[in-house]
């Protein structure tokens, strides 16, 4: 690849280092690994949603190739509970014991030289299953006489929460309008294009169980495996090779990882499992499925006086480690007020256990649903009061002069100008022109609508945030080891995992900023528990802020040492040096990094007196405040809808975004646009439906639609850049944000378009059928 950029530090749109191997087909993903003697695994998964598990009949010729729960009874089950004493926890064994609780739950693992052969063996086994009624929906699971999915529980609810802040009585009394609605967001999946996969083998020389996994957090996974099968962490190594997308779905400790690791250790045999797409859609953690009953109390101008919400989440059959089954609902409760000033707030939540695939994190966790509920309600209030939704939004957005702002749920919004983002979005989409177009009507009789949505996204959650959630792990920091090699090149060893975010480039840019070194001279090593200090991995829009901060600190210290040595080599005073273009400069002379590095590593006799040889600096970074850096944005879109067919088209989509200081604007923009595409999937296409037997109905890409090239519009982006006061360089995270607002913006645009028919959409994904149903039940006949 040809690189032509000159300025390569913070703020430069440097083209990506990782592209070279990927465009040449030389990326190495899990299925590409070639460990001699590897046997391939296929799981026997439950074909039914809820049953007592009897015998598994294995043909005698395969008795050494099929393994059941009893074969892995040395492995501890996965337990993910919050520290709330009311939380009802689950035990998920590597392979099901006694009972199966969702379609796709693993019952046995079959191994053979090829996956096809392993699947043949799986096919030849017979299951004895005594079926139980399927609790296939949260209403079914919470009915008064519902069977208990986990027999020792009080009811089928992991956790109920109830918060109330501010004077709601007064809000109710003072309100001109108290508007209540039920809203819902469908269940779907993260659906990375590369499915999951695990390969485990014992390295006999090192006496180490090496586990390759398509994971977002190798160190954390090492800890999980070590604890689950009672191996010291020093005898477990976890490597994430190239990972073909994660979006949260690969940031869990999965029973598949546990099973493969345990079996490889037990048999002293390399074993690999590659997930197929059907498994991915039915057994990889699911996302969303929220139901809301929301009441907004507002005055005559649309000013919010108070909000009451009941939030229910279908968290599936088991609690996913480490996030727990209460994660989605918990985050919704905390962020539902969003970027708006809400003086009184009461929220109840239920995280409900059903006979469905466990619920895990997915880009936007909780916030996509919360933003949908809040922004769809704000538009409904505006319609009720005959106000423009843009005016109502601007009235309620937190003002820049109120920053930093403590939200009613105690979130510390750090910086930004939320109304300005909204105003810029309105100007960019030209709201005036849209209103004129609506008044004129369309030649093709389609209806046009405008919708907008604003969110604030807590990123780079630090110690305080994770402690408050009471999770098994507190992900408060990130390390970096910066190592200058004798030839003057830099290797960064980091604990995060890069799977599309461009971190091999952006972390090198941070090093370039601190050391004046060319990005091409920096290698970023990540995704391997043996190459970097302990780190937490990539999730929660944290890596650029956290690992970027750590790289900055390590490289800053390295720069000091390099300058001291450089100045000494140039026979000048210690503090006279500056670093740029790969050299240490004094006023009159300069010395190249490789000469400095050679002195520090191979020729200690050339060092100043008292200077320690070596150029390895390890640093750990935590933001100054650990309550998070809040990115925010306003999305605005124009939709056309055909009232006869329900067919929809996105005519325009604008994002005004602020993620603090941008390290690489090209990558920022692409992360946001990628998020928008996924958010449009949530809004319009993606849904994993279940029938009343608990059978998943969306198990291929023919019945589960992810947006294609023709479905996603060319997103127009405008940037704002308000630094966070808490983080290095003022960076805020941004990986998830793009996926937060699209469902709200799209549904608001549709409701604006359908207003004249008295129709209203309250459910995602909005399919053409749902549009037609809304029109049919609307107040005004379309004819």
């Amino acid at each position: 690849m040809n690189h032509s950029d000159t300025k390569q530090g913070i703020g430069a749109s440097v083209k990506r280092t990782e592209d070279a191997r990927l465009v040449n087909g030389q990326g190495t993903y899990l299925a590409d690994l070639d460990i001699p003697g590897t046997l391939e695994a296929a799981f026997i998964r439950s074909p039914v949603a809820h049953a007592r598990l009897g015998a598994v009949k294995v043909p005698s010729e395969y008795s050494n190739q099929v393994f059941l729960a009893a074969d892995l009874d040395f492995a501890h089950p996965i337990v993910a509970a919050t520290d709330d004493p009311q939380f009802q926890s689950t035990k998920q064994f590597a392979l099901a014991k006694d009972k199966v609780r969702f379609v796709g739950e693993m019952i046995a693992v079959c191994i053979a030289p090829t996956r096809a052969q392993a699947e043949d063996i799986a096919q030849s086994c017979e299951l004895e299953l005594d079926e139980l009624p399927a609790l296939w929906d949260m209403d079914v699971a919470t009915a008064p006489d519902a069977l208990l999915i986990h027999e020792h529980w009080r009811d089928n609810i992991y956790l109920k929460t109830d918060v109330s802040v501010g004077d709601l009585e007064r809000a109710r009394k003072d309100a001109t309008v108290s508007l209540s609605k039920s809203l819902s967001m469908g269940r779907h999946g993260a659906v990375p294009l590369e499915c999951r996969g695990v390969l485990a083998h014992r390295d006999r020389r090192l006496n180490e169980l090496t586990v390759y996994s398509s994971t977002q957090f190798p160190h954390v996974l090492r800890t999980c495996i070590s604890r689950a099968i009672d191996l010291p962490e020093s005898q477990v190594r976890v490597i994430a090779p190239d990972v073909g997308g994660g979006f949260g779905a690969k940031g869990n400790f999965s029973p598949e990882e546990l099973t493969i690791a345990a079996l490889a250790m037990k048999l002293d045999q390399p074993i690999r499992w590659i997930e197929d797409r059907r498994e991915n859609l039915i057994a990889s953690p699911h996302a969303r499925e929220h139901r809301y009953d929301v009441t907004v109390h507002a005055n005559n101008d649309g000013l919010i006086l108070g909000i009451e919400a009941m939030i229910r989440v279908d968290a599936g059959a088991y609690s996913v480690w480490p996030w727990t089954a209460a994660m989605e609902a918990g985050m919704v409760v905390g962020i539902l007020p969003g970027p708006y000033h809400v003086p009184a707030y009461a929220a109840k939540s239920q995280s409900i256990c059903t006979n469905k695939t466990p619920m895990g994190p997915y880009r936007g966790v909780g916030r996509t649903g919360a933003c949908f509920a809040m922004d769809v309600m704000l538009d409904a209030v505006a319609r009720e009061l005959h106000l423009d939704p843009a005016d109502v939004r601007l009235l309620n957005l937190i003002k820049p002069e109120d920053m930093p702002y403590q939200s009613i749920t105690g979130k510390q919004y750090d910086s930004g100008d939320y109304p300005e983002a909204a105003r810029k979005a309105l100007a960019a989409i030209d709201i005036g022109a849209i209103r004129s177009r609506q008044a004129a009507g369309e030649k093709d009789d389609r209806l046009i609508g405008f919708g907008m949505s604003s969110y604030t996204e807590q990123t780079a959650h630090g110690t305080a945030e994770w402690v408050s959630r009471g999770l098994p792990v507190v992900f408060g920091y990130e390390p970096a080891l910066a190592r200058l090699t004798p030839d003057g090149k830099l290797i960064l060893h980091v604990g995060i995992q890069n799977h599309g975010q461009g971190l091999e480039t952006t972390l090198a840019q941070v090093a370039s900023e601190e050391l004046g070194i060319a990005v091409a001279d920096v290698v970023v090593r990540h995704g391997d528990s043996s190459v970097s200090p302990y780190g937490m991995g990539t999730f929660g829009s944290r890596s650029m802020t956290m690992a970027g901060g750590a790289v900055s600190v390590a490289c800053g210290q390295l720069a000091d040492k390099v300058k001291r040595i450089g100045a000494h080599l140039l026979q000048t005073t210690a503090d006279a040096g500056t670093l740029s273009d790969g050299r240490v400069h004094t006023e009159t002379a300069s010395v190249a990094l490789n000469e400095v590095a050679e002195a520090a590593t191979l020729h200690p006799e050339r060092l100043p007196e008292g200077e320690e040889p070596g150029l390895d600096i390890s640093a750990v970074y935590e933001p100054k405040r650990s309550t998070g850096a809040f990115s925010y944005a306003t999305h605005a879109c124009v939709m056309a809808v055909d009232p006869g067919t329900g067919e929809m088209e996105i005519l325009d989509y604008v994002v005004v975004h602020d993620c603090g200081r941008m390290v690489n604007p090209m990558i920022v923009e692409a992360q946001v646009v990628g998020g928008v595409a996924q958010g449009l999937g949530t809004a319009l296409y993606e849904e994993i439906l279940y029938d009343e037997n608990g059978q998943p109905l969306s198990s291929t890409f023919l019945d589960y639609m992810i947006p294609g090239c023709a479905e996603v519009p060319d997103v127009r982006m405008l940037h704002m850049e308000t630094p966070s006061p808490h983080t290095k360089y003022g960076i805020k995270g941004l990986g998830e944000g793009g996926a937060i607002s699209p469902p709200a913006a799209v549904v608001n645009a549709l409701n604006d378009a359908l207003k004249s028919l008295g129709a209203e959409i309250t459910q995602t994904p909005v399919t053409p059928l749902r549009v037609l149903e809304a029109i049919e039940s609307g107040a005004v006949s379309p004819l």
């Binding site: 990927l22 040449n24 197929d276 294609g708 090239c709």
Partner: protein, 157 residues
């Protein structure tokens, strides 16, 4: 059941005896270790496994190896020296047309075919032309820009 088959892969003649159910994708990946061809769905929808069969793009996950006797297969590895592909790869790099890289080989092969058939496509034609290749990361914007740039660069060269 195994069957013998003779075919050409990346200009090299290949003789093999394989299970009749073995897909071309598995044959390329497992037997020939050509791992640029990726498997995203294994049911012919996502396009990550796109290769050329006799010069035409095809889903290698739903093509059976034994049915391809005498055919010429080209994978991304086989296009390393193809001048058009080099321009396309550079454009994907320049316009940030990839993130995790998993869909990229299939996307590149489909792009090459699209630009062969339609040397100066409109944005809409690019979006329609690549609608058989799914990408979960980019939102397609970088990909569309890359394809338009590649078209421009190929026209200029």
């Amino acid at each position: 059941m195994k069957q013998s088959v003779s075919l050409t892969v990346n200009d090299r003649p290949v003789e093999a005896t394989v299970e009749s159910r073995l897909s071309l994708a598995d044959f390329l990946r497992l037997e020939l270790r050509l791992t640029a061809t990726h498997l995203g769905c294994e049911h012919g929808v996502c396009g990550a496994c796109t290769v050329l069969i006799n010069g035409e793009p095809a889903r290698s996950c739903i093509a059976l190896t034994v049915s391809l006797g005498g055919d010429e297969i080209t994978t991304l590895e086989g296009l390393a020296d193809d001048p058009a592909m080099q321009v396309i790869k550079q454009a994907f790099h320049d316009k940030h047309g990839l993130q995790c890289g998993f869909c990229t080989p299939g996307m590149l092969i489909s792009t090459r075919d699209l630009l062969k058939r339609t040397p100066r496509p409109s944005e809409g034609a690019v979006r329609d032309g690549l609608s058989g290749n799914l990408c979960r990361c980019t939102g397609y914007q970088g990909i569309v820009r890359a394809v338009l740039k590649a078209a421009e660069d190929l026209a200029a060269s």
